[in-house]
Amino acid sequence: MSSLYIWPQMPFLSITVLVIASMIFLYLARTPMHLALESLSDGIAGGLERTAEWIKAVVIKMREKNKKVLLESSIAASEEKIAQEFKRVEASYTKHLAEYPALHLKLDESITAIDADFKECGQVVPEAPGWNDAVESIASIKGTASGDRVIEKMLKELHKSAVDGEKMALSEMQKVSTKRHKILSSLAPVWKKIQKTMVEVNKRVELVLETSGKIENYMQEYDKIRTGGDDSIDMLSSKATKLFIFSIIVITVASFGAFVNFQLIALPMSELVPAGTRVLGLHVSDISALVIVTLEIVLGIFLMEALAVTNIFPQIAGLTLGKRRILLYAAILGLFFLASVEAALAVLREHIAATNAATTQALAGDVATGTDSEGSNITVIGQATLGFVLPWILAMVAVPLEMLIESSQHVLSKLLILIILMIGYLVGIIGHILSTIMKTIIHIYDAYIIIPTQIENLLKRKSST
């Protein structure tokens, strides 16, 4: 600083002269300096503002694209779901309504049987012979009241015959009645059969209707998606985010499961695959254990594909039912084989661990106490069970894996948009701050040359008056 002094022995005077000189210079250079500062402000702040606008435009485009992708993928997923449901309906119709003709026939037979029985029940009971009319006719013959013995005898005979006839008719009627009751009582099981058949028919129809109802729901959802409104976009976006979070949680848990599985078989694998080479710092035996774990996951993917639970490989989805079944059996067989291998390895691991402990004890000079046989059996059984069960659990990872891959496309794109948007806002804010700083500099500049400016104003006012 002292090097700038005009008179080093008089700093105050030097500074005063420097300030006045700079003030006069800056006053004279006021207009070009203002222009220069304004151009700089426009250049930097304007550039940043335009960058922010460009970023915003990019974000809008990305959002649109993301929306489009989300809609298209959701439409495709919905169509697939509906197509699958139609297949299910077809299967349901085939399965549940295939027996309908037989049921109908059964119902017809039952109704015919009832009809026949009913008709039989409806037969008129034989009436007693018409002796009454005959008696009345004889009674109206002249001379009956005079006590004609012939007529009296005749009447007595007739009375006897009528009584006998009535008795016979009554007995006949009782017989018929018993028969009718028998027929009616035999109708009960037929009614029950009909009722049962009707319940069965109802159940099957309900099942078919239930599947049809599902299609209706899917169709409504499909229509909603196709309209592509903000509501449906929000719904799809939240659905994808939810799926992403859930699948991340499940995959994380599954990763821990895979780690446990790996730890369970890594040590015994070193017994089976002893090697002096490493791959990326890992023992070949560790790699082998990893391969087994990943193979289990791969087989799980094929299993789920064959079961049509997931739909990662379109080629598998396009296979015929027979070929799918072969794939399913192959995957199950492979998993069973790997699970058995793991169970055996788990037993071997326990054996190695016990030997290691015994060796360490022996080296330390301790007398090997041996492990409690019961306790050791429980450990072995536990490890073997774990070794057998874990592959099957890992096989289920295919479902959240598919969910993760499908939803990650949207979620990651959303995240990228958010980051770009944040950068855009940041650039905008920096532009605004720089613009404000430049304006403040201009004001400070004006404040610095306030004395010459005020003198100029004073002179101007004087000259005008």
């Binding site: 298209e72 993928s73 495709a76 997923a77 697939e80 040590l267 070193s270 017994e271 002893p274 090697a275 002096g276 080479t277 490493r278 791959v279 990326l280 710092g281 023992h283 035996s285 790699i287 391969v291 990943t294 791969v298 993917i301 739909n311 990662i312 490989f313 379109p314 080629q315 190695i352 030997t355 290691n356 060796t359 360490t360 022996a362 080296l363 330390a364 000079g365 598919e402 891959i405 499908e406 496309q409």
Partner: protein, 229 residues
């Protein structure tokens, strides 16, 4: 959607192919991950009576920490230690854990036999044993090379024997002096003992040793090995 499915199947296939590429390109030798240990046992003068405690420390402290692929060699410190005959036992563990355990037990028996032997040397050629050990450790090319010296660290060379280290004699080797007992003269003047240890430290570090430790407790030996792996 079909495009997405196709890209999914492509990524799954790539994931399957990737390990194969890694296997073909990323294979490396196991040696850099292995540990080679050299135990120098002083059988001269007063230290010879420490044989049993030495063997116990090696058996309980060093041998159990060895993992498949590791090396252990026992070298005696006597009047002329720079001699192949001083190598009393070598152990290179098999990669199969069961075999490795058998080898450990067998080596422990060898150590017991060594402890039973009452041979005693007149002079103490520590430097010669260290040079022999250094040569052996270098030949293993192991990633971790450790040298444990069981001695009072008082060197007495036989007349006519000369020992000088190369500048890179102990390059990449961690050296620890174990079970350093104090001699009578050390007890009367601790500075004698301290300056002797200091001198060794200066000497080994000057000849490129990675580290020097003279205060290692036998119970901490396993941690020491694990820390240096």
């Amino acid at each position: 959607m079909i495009k997405l499915k196709k890209s999914l199947s492509v990524s799954v296939l790539s994931l399957a192919v990737l390990p194969l590429v890694v296997l073909l390109t990323g294979c490396s030798d196991n040696k850099e991950y292995e540990t080679a240990i050299c135990a120098l046992a002083d059988i001269s003068g007063t230290y010879a009576k420490e044989k049993k405690s030495m063997v116990n420390i090696i058996k309980a402290g060093i041998v159990p920490t060895l993992v498949p692929g590791d090396n252990l060699v026992l070298i005696t410190i006597d009047s002329n230690s720079f001699n192949e005959e001083n190598i009393k036992g070598k152990l290179k563990l098999d990669y199969r854990p069961s075999e490795a355990n058998k080898q450990k037990i067998k080596f422990a028996k060898k150590l017991d036999d060594f402890a039973e032997n009452s041979s005693r040397a007149k002079y103490t050629d520590i430097s010669g044993a260290m040079m022999l050990c250094s040569g052996h450790l270098k030949s293993t090319q192991a990633g971790t090379q450790l040298m444990f010296i069981f001695s009072d660290m008082k060197e007495e060379l036989k007349p006519g024997i000369r020992r000088s280290f190369n500048n890179d004699e102990f390059e990449n080797i961690d050296i620890a002096a174990m079970n350093v007992i104090k001699l009578n003269e050390d007890s009367s003047d601790p500075q004698v003992f301290r300056s002797r240890i200091k001198k060794w430290k200066k000497r080994v570090l000057k000849h490129s040793a990675k580290s020097w430790n003279a205060t290692l407790d036998p119970t901490e030996i396993a941690n020491y090995i694990d820390d240096h792996r």
